[in-house]
């Protein structure tokens, strides 16, 4: 056996979309636990490295968009700090003219002194938010959300398709808006101002509605919504219990993420919700005729990826437990950020999927490799 071929599982294949999303969201969650700029920077580095190594065909563009979005968020945070920030004691960099506000707006301030401390604090905060966004961007770049929706279980299929359609609707609207604004210019109307926008809005919405109806007709003509032999009542019950279960899981997650509420509330809700949703999904799956073309497989590589993401999150959480204060960086007085070792170890583990998984086959690789024979021809 040659080295080039080591069994079918080593074939280059795209990782299950769910695995990348779990990994990236774990990194994002880790980011929400810390304002330590070194850790945030490392998180960004890990996400960017994985994207560079394993992105899907459109991933580069998507990730670049989220990077820019992150920068914008950081900039907005800084501007807000300068304009509206609370006047904290510290080294004053510049003193802006301050606007006195009526007493109704007590606590709100415009202008005034800008200190190094407040700017540094705002940078850390903005960086945290930007990191979270960029982690979501990494998830998008590593596996398109459409692919994630495709792997939804049968009972959630219709929810998935609704989301898919909504996702394609938004860019379509933008496209139509640009087109109509251009056309309005052709009639000599200026497209600025409220009236200009109203003039654009109506045709754009009509356009969007028309194309949605067309899409619905195309989907219907291609068999979307065929039913298995299951009563309507049972179908509704399963859908309802899936949604209730998922809602419970979502509430539980919120409880767990929010450091303020006790974990006792979160855990039972999480387990219970997951059980209800799981059972309903299993039952509901039978009502669906639908099958999957090239279903994404969940194999060892997916487990490794999810575990790596979890390791990063655990590392950051443990750093907070074992080295209290290492996750937050003092701006009062300004202190150098620390580098807690548990978090470092976790982040190092999070890099693993970028090496251990196979690279997804390139999109238009087919034009470069010889054509495959017909699958059915060998029979």
């Amino acid at each position: 056996m040659s080295n080039a071929y080591s069994g079918p599982r080593r074939h280059p294949r795209a990782l299950h979309a769910g695995a990348w999303w779990a990994w990236a969201l774990a990194l994002g969650t880790a980011a929400t636990r810390t304002t330590n700029p070194l850790l945030l920077g490392l998180l960004l580095g890990v996400a960017a490295f994985a994207v560079a190594a394993r992105r899907s065909s459109h991933g580069g563009r998507t990730f670049a968009f989220f990077l820019r979005l992150g920068l914008v968020v950081l900039a907005i945070r800084l501007v807000f700090e300068v304009v509206f920030g609370n006047e904290l004691p510290g080294t004053v960099i510049v003193r802006l003219p301050s606007v006195p506000l009526p007493s109704v707006f007590a606590g709100l301030r415009i202008g005034g002194a800008v200190t190094t401390q407040s700017l540094l604090g705002a940078t850390y905060n903005g960086l945290q938010l930007a990191t979270l966004l960029i982690c979501v961007g990494a998830a998008n770049a590593l596996a398109s959300p459409r692919r994630l929706l495709r792997s939804l279980p049968g009972a959630l299929y219709e929810v998935g398709i609704a989301v898919t359609v909504a996702m394609s609707f938004a860019p379509q609207l933008v496209h139509a808006a640009v087109r109509v604004r251009r056309a309005q210019r052709l009639r000599g109307f200026s497209s600025s101002g409220l009236r200009g926008w109203l003039r654009v809005a109506l045709p754009v919405l009509q356009d969007g509605l028309e194309s949605s109806i067309e899409l619905a007709a195309a989907m219907d003509s291609r068999g979307f919504g065929r039913r298995g032999p299951v009563s309507a009542l049972r179908r509704r019950i399963t859908t309802a219990s899936v949604l209730v279960g998922l809602l419970a899981v979502a509430c539980a997650m919120y409880g767990l993420l929010d450091t303020g509420s006790p974990a006792v509330v979160g855990v039972p809700l999480l387990v219970g919700g997951a059980l209800v949703a799981g059972a309903a999904v299993l039952l509901g799956g039978r009502a669906v005729v639908r099958t999957k073309y090239r279903p994404d497989r969940w194999r060892a590589a997916e487990w490794v990826t999810v575990a790596a993401g979890a390791a990063a999150l655990a590392g950051v959480v443990l750093a907070g437990v074992w080295q209290p204060g290492s996750l937050q960086t003092n701006t009062y007085p300004i202190a150098a950020p620390q580098l807690p070792w548990p978090a470092l170890a976790g982040l190092a583990l999070a890099l693993l999927p970028a090496f251990l998984t196979t690279r997804a086959p390139l999109r238009n690789a087919a034009s470069r490799i010889p054509e495959r024979p017909l699958v059915g021809a060998s029979r």
Binding site: I161, R199, P203, S221, G223, F224, Y293, A366, V375
Partner: protein
């Protein structure tokens, strides 16, 4: 295979039925062409086959439509998906997924096919439509001909016995249309699939048809073999018009048949000198020098030198994405050039305000309805008697209380023209004006354009329609990949490449005649 029994379709609120007492039987394995005037109910007929009418569109359907023994009354479109494949006018609007392979598999997924069957079918369809090399490509990156083939493939994978297509080639450039039609005829011949197709561009499809169904304006339908149907049809391609003019029997439907019959006509015409239009050179009203247009990473125009003088009609041709629309957008100043210079009536258009620009130059965009912003035709026109007069001339009898979006394609174009021409700008640009227009509507458009040019205006028509270019344009400019590759008298440019040659030129080659009208005048002049 398909049976219509006494079918009458009436849409809600419509004063009269769209289809009236239709009795039809379409046997298996035929390629049937549905023709008719714009807005005559062709789409309604097609949609009735898979139950989109009335299940999706509303309205009432009296009578009975059945496909392969399944009544559409009891079977909504989704229950017919494995028998009838329906491809709408705009393939992009019907795509559900991102990539070619997933799109092909979508219908089978909905119908619950086994994974192994799906894999085999997808491979078969990729092969039979020549899409193998595109399997992983994102749908948005494909050319329009490829998109249309994917749309056809995406309904074929479900294994239907009937394929219904609504204007599959109208939006395509000539080579892309060839591509799609070749794929369709192969399906008919190799797999015995029944194809029902509506199309305005008869010159492209009529030779492939086994039968022609004509939908009349009153909603009735007639069903004939192609040659008899064409013998007295109002809507006929140039090859048929020429055949009628020369009284060829039997009436030829393809260039090949016509060419075999055209020997004597060619001899007669060779003796007549072709009436050449001589235009004295005037100073150009629009010029571009080294024009470069760029959107992000995409360079749409690479150094284009173009000019047009008053009184000229120029056809702007080229593949989809060659830069035609970009050039028009630059001329009306929608974007600033990345390099080079645009001058319209002595000004740089992108530096002027919208209301100043439109006094000198008007553009009718690809979707004329983008120009509309009022709720009724009357409001749209407002208090401009010139616009009203123009509209009445272009499309007489439009009800002023109608919503602009409820107009037919031809009426929308007429309204858009009326709106942009109210200022009587010295330059008029049209982007793909003939999509969805039937031959009589096209002839009216050409007449208006000629008159407008004669009154001293310059007109640029970006089009895939070689027949329109041959008919109306004195000069033809061909763009390819953002560069100007040909610029000269229409008769020379369009005959230079077979893909862009009009039918009459192909039949009479090597003589320089382009249209039936020219031949008719030539013959009349020689007779007198």
């Amino acid at each position: 295979m398909i049976r219509f029994e006494q079918v009458t379709v009436t849409y809600a609120g419509a004063p009269k039925p769209t289809l009236r007492n239709v009795d039809l039987t379409i046997p298996e394995g035929e390629l049937v062409l549905v023709i008719g005037r714009t807005g005559a109910g062709k789409s309604t007929l097609l949609k009735a086959i898979n139950g989109l009418v009335p299940h999706f569109t509303g309205g009432t359907l009296a009578g009975r439509v059945s496909v392969d023994g399944r009544d559409t009354r009891t079977h909504p479109p989704r229950e017919l998906a494995d028998v009838v494949g329906y491809v709408g006018q705009d393939p992009l609007a019907g795509f559900v997924t991102d990539t070619v392979e997933e799109e092909l598999a979508y219908a089978m997924e909905s119908l619950g096919f086994e994974t192994s069957v799906m894999r085999r079918r997808v491979e078969e369809i990729l092969d039979s439509l020549g899409l193998t090399t595109l399997r992983d490509r994102p749908l948005l990156d494909l050319s329009s001909g490829q998109q249309q083939r994917v749309a056809i493939g995406s309904v074929l994978t479900a294994g239907p016995r009937v394929l219904v297509l609504d204007e599959p080639t109208s939006a395509l450039d000539p080579p892309a249309a060839e591509e799609v039609l070749a794929a369709l005829t192969r399906l008919v011949h190799d797999l015995g699939i029944t194809v029902v197709m509506a199309e305005h561009r008869l010159e492209r499809v009529v030779q492939y048809a086994d039968r022609i169904i004509t939908v009349h304006v009153d909603g009735t339908v007639s069903d004939d073999a192609p040659a008899p149907a064409m013998a007295d049809a109002v809507i006929a391609p140039p090859v048929v018009e020429l055949g009628r003019l020369a009284r060829w029997q039997p009436l030829p439907l393809s260039v090949r048949d016509a060419r075999r019959a055209a020997g004597p006509l060619r001899e007669r015409l060779a003796a007549i000198t072709h009436p050449r239009l001589t235009t004295e050179p005037a100073s150009p009203v629009v010029t571009t020098r080294g024009l470069v247009a760029r959107y992000g990473d995409v360079i749409a125009l690479r150094g284009v030198d173009f000019s047009i003088a008053p009184g000229e009609i120029v056809a702007l041709m080229g593949r989809n994405g060659a830069g035609k629309s970009s050039l028009l957008a630059q001329l009306v100043g929608l974007y600033a050039p990345a390099a080079g210079r645009v001058e319209v009536a002595g000004h740089e258009p992108h530096r002027r305000s919208a209301s100043d620009v439109i006094r000198d130059i008007a553009l009718v965009p690809q979707q004329p309805s983008d120009l509309f912003c009022a709720d009724t035709v009357d409001d749209e026109i407002g208090r401009r008697p010139a616009a009203r007069e123009m509209l009445d001339r272009l499309a007489p009898g439009i009800d002023g209380a109608l919503h602009p979006r409820d107009l037919s394609e031809g009426q929308r174009l007429a309204l858009a023209l009326a709106l942009v021409l109210t200022n009587r700008p010295p330059v008029l640009l049209l982007d793909e004006p003939t999509r969805g227009l039937d031959y009589p509507a096209k002839a009216r458009l050409v007449k208006v354009l000629r008159e407008y040019a004669r009154s001293g205006s310059a007109i640029v028509v970006a089009t895939h329609d070689v027949e329109l270019a041959a008919d109306a344009a004195s000069r033809t400019v061909v763009l390819a990949d953002g560069e100007l590759v040909a610029d000269g008298p229409t008769s020379e440019v369009v005959t230079a490449s077979p893909a862009f040659a009009p039918q009459v030129a192909k039949i009479l080659h090597p003589l320089p005649w382009l249209t039936v009208d020219q031949v008719r005048t030539g013959l009349e002049m020689s007779a007198s």
